[in-house]
Amino acid sequence: MPDTTGIHAEGGVQLLQGLAIFALAAFLMAFVVLVFGKLFRPRNPNPDKGAAYECGEAPVGPGWVQFNLRFYVVALIFLVFDVEIALFYPWAVVFGGGGAPNAGWEALHAMRAAALWDMLFFFGVIVVGFLYLWRFGYLDWVRSLGARTDEPAPTTAPIRTETVAPPLAEIIAES
């Protein structure tokens, strides 16, 4: 396998410089194209062109409307899980890489066992949380309670059993 250490000996700073230049080039490319087009584009503003597109109708209210709360729940669940998965990366590199190459087989075995069981415990904690979310329906996009039961949904409004004495009617009857 060819030697790759020479690349890193050259310094991480150059690496970061390269990345920074790449990022700059990518953004510049995007902006240059936009500015370049400005020289050729026609510009005929018109109140109808400036209106928000709503299939030809006059737009009703602003575009920033209320949205389904489920989006928020998904973002919250994602945040927890993504942070936890990010914790797995350093572990996976060390565990998959075999750990300390100079250690004896016995020590290596003990270390591997410790790494595996510790991570499996952590993993178990995540899975318990995940099962909780699943059990209580936080992973279902449509959370309607009616769909869960076997009974058919009531088709008519329940009939009122208690009699409500309408005060107004009484007053009219008494007078």
Partner: protein, 435 residues
């Protein structure tokens, strides 16, 4: 220009000899110029930093022209799938269609509606394009190379923009950035369709980041390094691609990559039938084009990543391996890599024109209730294999994968939940014999 003149130009451009002749001439001209200017840039080729910058420039130009060609290719594949010709008016076989499209995007009026959040409205397309391009920095295009004029003991140069030792993490971080372009576009447009498209995109992209991360973790356990060029070299050294070890992980990453790129069957953020155009409803001209370029660039990045992780990157059996660092071996490796990437792009396109779109609750269910549990189980299995020291053993990995597949199929068969929308709509069929 008069009408007959345009007609004559059109007829000339539709001749294959003209198109291919012009292409060959341009290629020859560029090669001649490069050969003539060789003494000028020869010293630049020898240092890793300047070589990386050259790779950067070449790749940026190549990728942007490739995205333009991709759009033609996609329309051709759409035509093939739907039994029609696809674009065939501009130039022979429609080969000049990207040029015509580019000109049109450049020359059209760029409408900015009155009530948008202007800074964010301008930033969003640039972010969408730039974030997709950033991922290319760590793709190991052609392994390593040592030029003939370099001393034989000099360390070979790597054909990467940046050989980061946290390559994976960088890719994930940059991949997450691409959510911003779409969400900002949806938010800034002040349009209900765009807003809903943006919200959908946000939920979809973050949901599918989890299976993607789990699939990548499995590869990470197998290879034990975050550097992409090391992962490719491992596969090349043993000749066993990671796809043979972990087909299920590959499937997870493939599906997540489709969803991350907002490609069908996961193109709900821009579902034309429901949301007009989704997050790019209010965009026109060049800004609209940048969303498209960003989508295609994202697709190429994902393909390049999948090829590096699962399909051995530039390695192919019988072709020059990692120990061959001559310049002609580099060219062969580059050609192999690009071929694999092109095949993957073709697969992405075929999928788009073959499968119908998911419904949103199905989309979320696929991510959270099937892909994430599969990923978790696969990760646990791979961790156990790694503990036994069998993580690079093909048979052990395959057996684990098959076992997992069997469990999955069994639980899917026993599950009472409907799989397709049609099953949901139909009443449950009573299969018991009537007595």
């Amino acid at each position: 220009m008069t009408d007959p003149t345009i007609k004559r130009i059109e007829t000339v451009l539709r001749k294959p000899a003209v198109i291919f002749g012009a292409g060959a001439a341009i290629l020859l001209l560029v090669t001649a110029l490069l050969a003539l200017a060789f003494p000028l840039y020869k010293p630049l080729l020898s240092s890793q930093f300047s070589f990386s910058m050259i790779v950067l420039a070449v790749m940026l130009v190549l990728i942007l022209s490739a995205t333009a060609l991709c759009i033609l290719f996609e329309r051709k594949i759409a035509g093939f799938t739907q039994d029609r010709y696809g674009p065939n008016r501009v130039g022979f076989w429609g080969l000049l269609q990207p040029v015509a499209d580019g000109l049109k995007f450049l020359l059209k009026e760029d409408i900015i509606p009155r009530h948008v959040d202007k800074p964010l409205f301008l930033l969003a397309p640039a972010l969408a394009l730039a974030a997709s391009l950033l991922g290319f920095a760590i793709i190991p295009w052609a392994g390593q190379v040592r030029w003939p004029w370099m001393p034989p003991d000099a360390p070979p140069l790597s054909t990467q923009v940046a050989n980061l030792n946290v390559g994976f993490l960088y890719l994930l971080a940059v991949g997450s950035l691409s959510v911003y372009g779409v969400v900002l576009a949806g938010y800034a447009s002040n349009n209900k369709y765009a807003f809903y498209g943006g919200m959908r995109a946000a939920a979809q992209m973050i949901s599918y980041e989890l299976p993607l991360g789990l699939g990548l973790l499995v590869v990470l356990l197998v290879s034990g390094t975050l550097q992409l060029d090391q992962i490719v070299q491992q596969q090349a050294a043993t000749g066993v691609w990671n796809i043979f070890l972990h087909p299920i992980a590959f499937f997870l990453v493939l599906v997540s990559a489709l969803a991350e790129a907002n490609r069908a069957p996961f193109d709900l953020p821009e579902a034309e039938q429901e949301l007009v155009g989704g997050y790019h409803t209010e965009y026109s001209a060049m800004k609209f084009a940048m969303f498209f370029l960003g989508e295609y660039a994202h697709m190429i990045t994902s393909s390049a990543l999948i090829v590096a992780l699962f399909f051995g990157g530039w390695h192919f059996w019988g072709l020059p391996g990692p120990e061959n660092v001559t310049w002609w071996a580099m060219l062969i490796k580059l050609a192999v890599y690009l071929t694999k990437v092109a095949l993957f792009i073709a697969l992405f396109m075929l999928v788009r024109w073959t499968l119908p779109r998911f419904r949103f609750d199905q989309l979320m269910r696929v991510a959270w209730q099937s892909l994430v549990p599969i990923g978790v189980a696969l990760l646990a299995a791979t961790a156990a294999l790694t503990y036994l020291g069998w993580q690079r053993n093909v048979w052990a990995s395959l057996a684990a994968n098959l076992l997992l597949l069997a469990v999955l199929l069994r639980s899917a068969a026993r599950s009472k939940r409907p799989v397709t929308a049609r099953q949901e709509d139909l009443p449950e069929i009573d299969v018991r014999p009537t007595t």
